[in-house]
Subunit: 223 residues, 2 copies
């Protein structure tokens, strides 16, 4: 029975890695589409989000099946419950990539990226992509040194998010209201992307060490 | 054993209702604080969000304990897994109330509610409060007629959300960049609040009827 259970868990892990690889592709494409107003690439991201959603639903079904058939307890049970949550977070990260793609499509043929913030958003996009790639590596390898790397990347995203607001609220901001709206929404999406990744990293870390870090799940919970 | 299980489920339900009652209070206070720049009330909301977070974590622990001790299968198992998800959604609704309160505090002593949008945001706040109250009633009574009421309320929120953007992007919008930022963020928070409620309603509906509506969980998943 333990053998079967561990085979099932490996299956869960493989699928989580697969979804996070798709999220990495989605956020990379979405942020490049946003930066270059590439509406065809944005459409690809929007279309492909369905694949991520379907895979997350399938993974949830597998987790429920494992609970029903193998009735895990203690740490094994927590791993399966954590997988349900990780899958929800990955799905939301895919949704954020889709939202960034939608902003690009909505403004086309205008540029979605507000003037004066091109470098900032390019940087945020690069960090998001590194966040997703690091998260996939963490799920693949369970190398906990990647958790602190994700903390660093999330801090960088938070700093850039603040920088966007400082810029938009400064006296020399010349953007029209539409640029202000886009900057606000896009920046928030990037910031949330990092938050979701960190929330996954904390779960992986919790399962490996048995303790939550000081800021628990409740505190950083997603909106 | 079934007796014990049903007692446990009732305990879960009671706690979900309790959390949704707290969310109703939080969103009512947060939206009134936002409308009237009542920073003391906003502080209350921010302080009290910790209570919602703690209760959600305690509920998750109870659900995991039920899974471990009573090893439910089939529909019973799905109810417990759904409770974990409902608790996550309610917690996020509490976080949104907190975010609205934080906007109020950040702008104080200025008004957070942008000029020309007071009526719109007052209306959104009233609808959010009715959403939360209806959701608490749904969890309490499992009266599925409340699900369609929640759909209606969510549609109203979506329409107001669009109206905010139309206003902000219209030629006669006189707001400064800070008003545009606040309108964008606040409106998005209100819209997300309705989405989370609908996501809970769909789970309740699914458990009662055994079928998902056309738009499944994956499609409306939260960011």
């Amino acid at each position: 029975m333990r053998e079967v259970f561990h085979q099932s868990l490996e299956d869960v892990q493989t699928r989580l890695v697969e979804i996070s690889d798709l999220v990495t592709i989605a956020i990379d494409q979405a942020t490049r589409a946003f930066a270059t107003s590439d509406v065809a690439l944005a459409e690809d991201v929007i279309d492909n989000d369905k694949v991520i959603d379907d895979k997350a639903i399938a993974l949830d079904e597998l987790a429920i099946e494992i609970l029903a058939r193998q009735q895990p307890v203690a740490r094994d049970l927590r791993i399966v419950v954590a997988a349900l949550r990780v899958s929800a977070s990955l799905e939301r990260m895919g949704d954020i990539a889709e939202h960034i793609a939608q902003l690009t499509r909505m403004r086309f043929p205008e540029r979605a990226v507000p003037k004066g913030l091109k470098n900032t958003f390019t940087k945020m996009g690069e960090i998001d992509t590194e966040v997703a790639r690091t998260l996939a590596d963490l799920l693949r390898t369970e190398d906990l040194s990647l958790v602190s790397r994700l903390h660093e990347l999330d801090d960088e995203l938070d700093a850039l998010h603040l920088a966007v607001f400082e810029k938009v609220l400064s006296d020399n901001w010349q953007g029209e209201a539409s640029a202000t709206v886009d900057a606000t929404l896009a920046s928030r999406y990037h910031e949330r992307f990092g938050d979701h990744a960190l929330s996954v990293a904390k779960k992986v870390s919790y399962l490996a060490t048995g303790t939550w870090s000081a800021d628990t799940e409740g505190v950083d919970a997603e909106v």
